[in-house]
């Protein structure tokens, strides 16, 4: 390699100067580099195909294994539709709460300097590092029969655990930092000169946010919402702890998949999964479109 480079350099000294130096410098133009490039690309393509694409193909093929009629029957089954409704409800709630939180928290942490900023930021990230099962457990320990709020809730006939509110809470919890995490770097990079100028010229808080801050963050916000949606609709562990698995009542789509699978109703499980696969692919496309728009 060393010899090769020197030789090339010497040869090109005789020929056309500028091009040749570039030729020597660019390490991606040598034959060995070409070989490495194609080997690496092939290995990566193979890895992605086996690890990521093949599972998707499995879902599609198994969903359609017993024919189209069986597929539509599983997809339009009463319980599937109810599960889909609950998944949508939980996802929309999670996105709504986390968008509000994300906007306020990122505004707070990027535009103001105060003690404990780092701590606050670290606290917001907690749901990222917690196992979904533990996320479910903490709500049982708070609102369940054994929880310290259990007696109070029972007295007022409010059911959170093993009911819809628990599922919604758990979904909000696991997706809590998503919008915030997308917004914070954008707001930090933007700085706060513009807001300060506007404030000194007499603009009110709401006007400043709508006219100055929002245009900077709109794509990041959309991106965060897409990520939040992806995670919320697929959440399994936390919701599983809190659901109590009541068909038609506290079953989300991923939980419905589990029940069907455990009943050895594999075709139906994959058919229901295919709805989630389609949603996942739509989310990926949306994500890439937004990324492309942002650039």
């Amino acid at each position: 390699m060393k010899k090769e480079a020197t030789q090339e350099y010497e040869q090109d000294l005789v020929g056309d100067g500028i091009n040749s130096i570039q030729k020597v410098i660019d390490p991606h133009k040598t034959e060995a580099a070409h070989a490495t490039k194609y080997v690496l690309i092939s290995v990566c393509a193979f890895f992605l195909f086996v690890m990521l694409v093949l599972p998707l193909i499995v879902v599609v093929i198994n969903a359609l294994r017993d024919g189209w009629a069986a597929y539509t029957e599983a997809v339009f089954d009463e319980y599937t539709v109810k599960a889909l409704q609950l998944t949508l409800l939980a996802t929309v709630s999670a996105v709504a709460v986390n968008t509000v939180f994300g906007v306020f928290a990122s505004y707070l942490l990027s535009k103001f300097y105060f003690r404990g900023r780092q701590l606050l930021s670290a606290l917001i990230d907690i749901p990222f590092s917690i196992s979904p099962v533990i996320a479910g457990l903490i709500f049982i320990l708070t609102f369940g029969n054994v929880g310290w709020m259990g007696d109070f809730l029972k007295a007022h006939n409010i059911k959170i655990v093993f009911a819809v509110p628990g599922i919604i809470l758990a979904t909000i919890f696991v997706t809590f930092p998503f919008v915030f995490r997308e917004l914070l770097p954008v707001l930090n990079a933007q700085g706060k000169d513009e807001e300060e100028a506007a404030a000194l010229m007499g603009a009110k808080g709401f006007t400043i946010f709508c006219r100055i801050t929002f245009p900077h963050i709109k794509w990041a916000l959309l991106y965060g919402i897409v990520l939040c949606t992806a995670r919320a609709m697929g959440e399994f562990g936390a919701v599983s702890v809190l659901s109590g698995h009541l068909r038609g009542k506290t079953n989300t789509l991923p939980l419905h998949v589990e029940i069907l699978y455990n009943e050895f109703n594999t075709t139906a499980a994959f058919a229901v999964s295919s709805i989630l696969v389609i949603l996942a692919i739509l989310i990926l496309i949306a994500r890439n479109l937004i990324e492309w728009k942002r650039k």
């Binding site: 939180f101 103001f112 749901p127 599983s240």
Partner: protein, 283 residues
């Protein structure tokens, strides 16, 4: 930057931009209701146990084996992800080829695909009758319902973390140093290991930590392929689940607390690495 902020604050003593109180209120309220108060419950519940009880639960054979399975499998999975993640990030950032954008877009699939779906699909693929599992079954290697299967599921969920933490660093990496090394006569392998890799190391470590942490806590995609054979393929999150279904709340809470502390320690480590990285890139 930091200095400037302090100066402005000292000089004026007031904040110019409105909305501090309101933002603070909304942030703290939601954070407390959704994260902090529920999370405090786990510490409150554990405090009801005395230390001996806690220690007995946490060191019982079943729970210790659960930790060992979770930690060892996710450690190996994170290592696998570091190798392939580095390759993927390199290929996506440095090479131009048809399908590059598709490859880039696919990376996030494990993130978008619900874990339960990934779980049943991987189980189907790697079981003895499955497309991939049957190959290995002929060679006498069982994948589904063993620790190998668990590791594969954890590799699946961890890929995006390594690639996404490496990509921005690789994109910003100044090629001058590589060029200098090559001009000075270093081989390409030598340049990679001595010039490029040290620059990537903090990001690689952060990606490793994130994938590792995700693997330890992962439930949905692992639970189907694990098969839940006691002392062999029972992961820690599954043990918590089982204990809850048996209404053994004390056991579940104690087991969860240890897992929680492990994740917190890991996150602390990752954060300090990232902080170090930021300082490093400033000079």
């Amino acid at each position: 930057m930091e200095q400037q902020i302090v100066k402005v604050k000292n000089k004026r003593g007031v904040k110019v931009i409105p909305g501090f109180g309101f933002s603070m209120g909304v942030t703290l309220f939601l954070l407390s209701v959704i994260v902090l108060i529920p999370l405090a419950s786990i510490f409150l519940s554990t405090a009801r146990l005395d230390f001996r009880e806690f220690w007995e639960i946490v060191t019982s054979r079943q729970i210790v084996s659960g930790y060992i399975v979770s930690l060892s499998c996710s450690f190996i999975a994170a290592l696998v992800n570091v190798v392939f993640g580095l390759m993927l990030a390199w290929v996506i950032v440095r090479y131009e080829f048809p399908g590059r954008r598709l490859m880039d877009g696919l990376i996030e699939l494990p993130f978008a695909l619900p874990t339960a779906v990934a779980g049943i699909s991987l189980t189907y693929l790697y079981s003895d009758q499955g497309w991939i599992g049957s190959f290995f079954a002929k060679a006498g290697i069982k994948i589904a319902y063993t620790r190998i299967g668990i590791t594969i599921a954890m590799v699946f969920v961890g890929i995006p973390f390594v690639v996404r933490s490496l990509q921005p660093v690789l994109e910003k990496l100044d090629r001058q140093y590589e060029e200098a090394a090559l001009m000075l006569g270093a081989g390409r392998t030598y340049t990679f290991f001595r010039v490029i890799l040290p620059e990537l190391f903090p990001a690689l470590l952060a990606g490793f930590g994130l994938a590792f942490a995700r693997g330890i806590g992962e439930y949905g995609s692992v639970v189907f392929i694990a098969g839940n054979i006691p002392y062999k393929t029972q992961i820690a999150p599954l043990l918590i689940m089982t204990k809850l279904e048996q209404y053994k709340y004390a056991d579940a809470t104690a087991c969860a607390l240890v897992l929680l502390l492990i994740s917190f320690a890991l996150m602390l480590l990752i954060n300090s690495i990232q902080l170090h990285m930021q300082k490093f890139s400033k000079c």
